[in-house]
């Protein structure tokens, strides 16, 4: 098990109901973390219901669901970005 900081932005933050939390996880990839959280509580399952609308950053770099979690400190979930 390892300890991760997990952050949520925009409508993912609203659905999960937290902007940031510390998570104990045995997941090896981001996808594994998503599955673990979704199994844990309904609000996560709802937030992650359509993964095509979810983007991921690992330690503040864009990544994808297959990204490994070994040595990672922070994972963030958010919708496609709308800057500018």
């Amino acid at each position: 098990m390892s300890e991760l900081r997990v952050r949520y932005f925009a409508w993912l933050r609203e659905r999960v109901g937290e902007s940031s939390e510390t998570v104990e996880t045995g997941a090896e990839t981001v996808r594994g973390l998503v599955d673990e959280l979704s199994a844990r509580e309904e609000r996560y399952a709802l937030a992650f219901a359509d993964l095509s609308a979810v983007r991921v950053a690992v330690d503040e770099e864009l990544a994808d669901l297959s990204a490994p979690l070994a040595g990672v400190r922070e994972v963030a979930f958010f919708p496609p970005m709308t800057g500018g």
Binding site: R13, A76, P80, M81, G83, G84
Partner: protein, 146 residues
């Protein structure tokens, strides 16, 4: 070369003056500013971002522009927080010897920061709040720079 992420407003004219002061080799400055557009009934726009990653992502996009074009100077300012219709959201400025590099680099910066910088917009109006969706054309705009 500079990136600023801030809550406060900024002055485009003063920024351009500071960027080019004493830099007589600069022959061209291109700027773009984005404003809060009211398409009907918009009360406010909330800009959320990912502190830490935002600065890194913008700096990486700017570094990519500098590697592709011969720029004498560049600047990206992006605001966050609650904005009203007509408010400035962001600006990019690029300066080069001749205009083509400045024009192209400014377009490149805009195309990338639209869909690769971690900002999200929520519009509030009479019917409540609504997150602004990314558009297919934003993503398609990146293809021409591959």
């Amino acid at each position: 070369m500079a990136v600023r992420v801030q809550r406060e407003d900024f002055d485009c004219g003063a920024e351009i003056a500071a960027l080019t002061a004493g830099r007589t080799e600069i022959g061209a400055v291109v700027t773009f500013s984005g404003l809060v557009r009211d398409s009907g009934g918009l009360a406010s726009l909330e800009l959320e971002h990912y502190p830490g990653m935002t600065e890194k992502a913008l700096a990486a996009i700017e570094a990519e522009a500098v590697s592709r074009w011969e720029l004498q100077a560049s600047l990206v300012i992006h605001r966050y927080g609650r904005l009203a219709p007509g408010d400035r959201i962001m600006m990019v400025a690029t300066a080069s010897r001749h205009r083509q590099a400045a024009f192209e680099a400014a377009e490149f910066l805009m195309d990338y920061l639209k869909s690769r910088a971690p900002f999200w917009k929520k519009e509030s109006g009479p019917d409540g709040g609504r997150w602004v969706d990314a558009t297919e054309s934003d993503e398609a705009a990146l293809a021409r720079w591959k």
